[in-house]
Symmetry: C2
Subunit: 138 residues, 2 copies
DNA sequence: ATAGATGCAAACATTTTGCGCCGAG
DNA sequence: CTCGGCGCAAAATGTTTGCATCTAT
């Protein structure tokens, strides 16, 4: 089974190695937002010979090809998620007690952001919205 | 002249040392978003004996007392700005060509964010919005 | 065949920490 | 006086890189 990210790599004409295929698979299957070290651990459960350096290099290439997105939630490390362009643009709510990340989509924000950038004389390329909250009744 | 941040330290009953006073002054006067190293350099122009470790420790205390805010614009280092609660909540537009940071305020987003958090079962504590854009006509 | 990808270990950059001394309250 | 803050240097953490080797195309 070819992972979704591997298909995106093909579109960008990336040379596909065993390592990249495994890393693509791991990130495609992730339901959370793993950091480089976590990706490395999951990759190593599939193939013990893949190095952390390769994970970093591959992540970096995926990111510059917009195949994955980096998020910085303030815990010191960069975290990543697949960037499926046909999926709606979503954002993150971070539970400040548990660190849990909840994804959400909001139409109104999608509309607003372009207007704001335009008003400032910019074309919007990307954006990031993160909410930090505490669970009600806990 | 007592800096604005120093006044906030007093409210939180922080022990005020020469070092903290100078660091408070530097961050209060910053019109940009300096990282720890940059704060350290500016601090040293006023007092050569203040160490980088103290800058980090002080920043950390300021941050946990909500006196300053950390921002991560994706350049690998944490950047900081004063968090004047009586100032309107603002956000950042980052020029992806120059790295320039433009601050802006948007009323509609202020309204939206609380509704979204509530809908997800959370009380909003903080949030962060960053737009990344290219200047029009350049 | 060959450009580019990999593994390893060393280098880097940023941030944190242990310890003995010092200074604010 | 005393507790916490300080400077220094060392360590920890996350990430990048030089080099010799290997591999997808």
């Amino acid at each position: 089974m070819i992972s979704r990210i591997e298909k995106m790599c093909a579109l960008v004409k990336m040379k596909m190695t065993t390592q990249r295929r495994v890393i693509a698979e791991v990130i495609s299957n992730a339901v959370d937002h793993p950091c480089a070290e976590e990706i490395y651990k999951r990759v190593n459960e599939i193939d013990k010979n893949i190095s952390l350096a390769t994970v970093y290099r591959t992540i970096s290439i995926f990111e510059s090809n917009h195949i994955i997105k980096k998020l910085e939630i303030g815990d010191g490390k960069s975290r990543y998620e697949a960037n499926y362009s046909n999926t709606e643009h979503h954002h993150h709510l971070i539970d400040i007690d548990t660190g849990e990340i909840i994804e959400f989509i909001d139409e109104d924000i999608e509309k607003l952001k372009h207007d704001i950038a335009k008003k400032l004389g910019y074309v919007l390329i990307d954006h990031r919205l993160e909410l930090y909250g505490k669970k009600i009744n806990k």
